[in-house]
Symmetry: C2
Subunit: 339 residues, 2 copies
């Protein structure tokens, strides 16, 4: 019980860090929300309906916050970061919509997913619409450099998603392969979101690269922890849904490590449950038990801490100030969320 | 029988027009094919596999041909039109992939569709990849004006697809509504493909507008005829699959007209078959019979002829030459294909 209480405290501290950075860019973020709403207007009423469901359903706006804070840390004084932050959020939301179709998810963050409510067709098409609108926002901004960063990113995300199809239900997936997918699917957009802050402020290349590295490593840590949270007893205690990845046979680092460290019995268990998706009552509990015994969950967090450290150090070249402090704190948020 | 033979001759004449325009830009088109192949390279082997299936499966490359021919007609001497034509084809192919997921089509042009062979997930994700690559190609070209035209187009296509969801299985759909969807989903990309030819050649706005109008009206005629072909006895004679739209309950102009002109019995037939999708042996034949009696097929072709005439006249301001003649002939191709 003592452990649960401590983790709860870490979680509260983590969320306080998120609240601080959000407060720091509150005005800009409200402008982003306005741009998002304006750009969801359409002759097809389903578009604002469905997109609002997703955009209103508890998203943390983490990626727009990264763009806004990075730009301000670099001394950017204008308002172009608002449209670009909205564009980044649209790319992210489009990816989520298409992801749910691919995973056939009925739930997202414990709530009914868009495809469960409106059907796969709508999720595919509204995702396409958001993606196209993201590009329109970038084109309206008019920076070819930003367009290049974000169109590369969109292409790499899609490539990562396709690569993930081939690791699905394959417990023998290597850690390197898993990491490739995480960086392509998730961390890359974090990197782009941060990098464009330096581009807007017309900072030298070394600062662009530093922000890209911060974002890439932060995003990697974020996804690693996210994948651990899906097996977290603490999350279950907080009333959150766990085990989604397990039920889908999605191969994340906890399984990769547990499988490689496991004995013959355990490997047979993983093959039955996540490869053949032959699951029964109690299997999720058994999965968590094996992961705990093999220290697969704790070591996944350790890996995340490594990327978190690299992210924090990448910020070193920037002068101290509230934005830099907030970005550093965000590393703690990504790692210390309840697990 | 005499009629069938005549129509066969019209079809041969139509395809000869397509061959002529393709021959006119053959070298450029080969360069487009090369750019397409290069841009399908990916760390995820599924991407070239699946995309090649689609790109190799009998596409006419109509949209790239429009960009290439428009640019040359406008006196453009460079090679930027090649990358942009490839970009247009990528947007088109991405749309096809996502369309098949939405329609749950097992067949496309009588061949197994990508989603039937590789699953919906792959179609969604490879579509996203192609879409992102299309933008990368435009960004590499570097014209914000072209980026603006094509990102607007992508956004309108997605909007049209979503609008189409709400007319699905609704035989009371109005002709205006049907036309909105056709222009958004299909004709808009034809318009953009043509317009960028004038933009590349830095021609005055009136020529950009003329080419946009040509493309929009050509694309509208093309889709109207395409929708008629799905009910064409002539197509069936040629061994092509017909009735796909009918089986899905997709509402196209032949149904819109037949429903509005129909008596009570006929309307009940349309409600049963395309609204409730309660279909039995012989229903497709009965649908064609009603459409023929109500002149719904012939009049859909008449509507197409109207748009074809507008397209042809839009070319009027350009000086005579082989490109202009080929674009004018393409109107005949779009209308006189076997029906």
């Amino acid at each position: 019980m003592g452990v649960v209480v401590n983790l709860g405290a870490a979680d509260r501290k983590a969320h306080a860090a998120l609240e601080r950075i959000t407060a720091l860019v509150r005005e800009d973020l409200e402008a982003v929300n306005q741009v998002i709403l304006t750009n969801l207007q359409s002759r097809a009423p389903l578009i604002p309906q469905l997109a609002q469901h997703l955009i209103a359903s508890g998203g943390k706006r983490l990626r727009p916050v990264l763009t806004l804070t990075s730009a301000r840390m670099c001394g950017y004084k204008g308002m172009r970061h608002v449209g670009l932050a909205a564009s980044v959020e649209f790319i992210h939301t489009a990816t989520l919509l298409h992801d749910d179709v691919v995973d056939e998810s009925a739930l997202r963050r414990g709530e009914a997913s868009a495809n469960a409510l409106w059907g796969n067709e709508s999720s595919v098409l509204v995702g396409d619409f958001l993606f196209a609108r993201a590009f329109r926002l970038m084109v309206a901004d008019g920076s070819l450099k930003v367009l290049s960063i974000l169109s590369d990113s969109a292409s790499i995300i899609a490539e990562g998603e396709v690569m993930q199809l081939s690791t699905a239900n394959e417990p023998e997936t290597s850690e390197a392969n898993y990491l490739d997918v995480v960086q392509a699917k998730t961390a890359n957009l974090f990197a782009a979101a941060c990098e464009i802050g330096a581009v807007l402020a017309e900072r030298p290349q070394v600062e662009e690269e530093a922000l890209r590295s911060y974002g890439l490593n932060l995003g990697t840590a974020f996804q690693l922890v996210d994948d651990v949270l899906d097996y977290s007893a603490q999350q279950a205690t907080l009333g959150k849904t766990i085990g989604d990845d397990f039920r889908e046979g999605k191969i994340t680092l906890p399984i990769v490590l547990a499988f490689r460290r496991g004995n013959e019995d355990e490997r047979a268990f993983w093959c039955r449950t996540v490869e053949n998706l032959d699951q029964k009552e109690g299997d999720l509990e058994r999965a968590i038990e094996i992961m705990t015994a093999r220290e697969a969950l704790a070591d996944s967090i350790e890996r995340a801490r490594h990327y978190g450290s690299v992210a924090r150090d990448a910020l070193g070249i920037f002068p101290d100030g509230p934005e830099k402090a907030a970005l550093a704190d965000l590393v703690d948020f990504c790692i210390d969320r309840a697990y």
